[in-house]
Symmetry: C2
Subunit: 157 residues, 2 copies
DNA sequence: TAGATATATTAGCCAGGGCTAACTTTACAA
DNA sequence: TTGTAAAGTTAGCCCTGGCTAATATATCTA
């Protein structure tokens, strides 16, 4: 990133030189990563809730905890946050449901996840590894990149 | 991940059925992502320190803060953590140096970063976007996947 | 060289997302 | 139906990594 902070003619407010623009762009990139992190929990949870409802008819905290590899109190706390944020609807000690917004997010996440896994496997990566890496990568794949993955998959079907 | 939790004959302790193994593997995946997160700050910082030293001869907190898009006190606090963890060596109000371990980490990170960016660009993604996405993706790319990226790059040079 | 300015640090706050221990509620079985 | 086991929640702790305000140190310039 530093070695050649030259090309890529972008707009930028122009201040002193290319140094400042590069710094801005880099700061922007890090900010995006931090923002993505704030959504990761939500994405993982709604995705998992959708999966469990589809597979077993309901999503129970104990099962979510097992799948996520965390303890049940962590799930409870995070479900409260998701409820606060309008992605989940539920009553104490009762079943977990996704709101409309939660459903939409879950759908998008699951599609993106599938795409990333398929893409990695198309590169020759083993399914298990592809699944694991996708879990971390998927949250940082922009729309542009996701589309590039899809194009690649179409060409290499 | 849910729709077809079947194939991929792995090892696993075998308990009841495929359900348990799948849950284990999934939990493992999430655990890996959480572990990766714990290293992200360290990786970003040492990478940036190496870049700045190479580009300007020294790494100053004020420049790091600008590049990272955070405020200087955040940099100070995180540098203390890196010092505690043996990646950085420095004295108060004085220059920042990487330890041997820090240098090694920085080198590996920079190489991985270059590979990820090149790979994304080889897929037809614009440099700017590739840089941004790489910033988030790179921390979750396993050795296997990194190798697959390199293979792809060799084939598509 | 002294004083203003820039840089760095400290202190103290906040939210996120883990945990354990203790308690409540639900569900199941005798 | 009642009592025990399983599931869920609450309370309270920890560390990370942001922030602002206040303070300390360095640097640069007049």
């Amino acid at each position: 990133m530093s070695e050649n902070a030259s090309d890529s003619p972008d707009l930028a407010p122009s201040d002193t030189a290319s140094d400042d623009r590069t710094a801005d762009a880099q700061a922007d990139g890090f900010a995006r990563v931090r923002a993505a992190h704030e959504n990761e929990m939500a994405e993982d949870y709604v995705e998992l809730i959708a999966e469990l409802i589809e597979a077993t008819g309901e999503a129970r905290p104990v099962d979510m905890a097992e799948r996520l590899g965390v303890k049940p109190p962590t799930v409870t706390k995070n479900l409260s946050r998701l409820t606060r944020d309008g992605l989940v609807k539920r009553e104490r000690y009762r079943s977990i449901f996704l709101t409309e917004e939660g459903e939409n997010l879950a759908r998008a996440c699951r599609e993106r996840h599938r795409t990333v896994v398929s893409f990695l496997m198309a590169l020759g990566i083993e399914e298990e590894v592809a699944q694991r890496d996708a879990e971390g990568i998927e949250h940082h794949v922009s729309g542009d990149t996701l589309r590039a993955f899809e194009v690649f998959l179409q060409k290499n079907s």
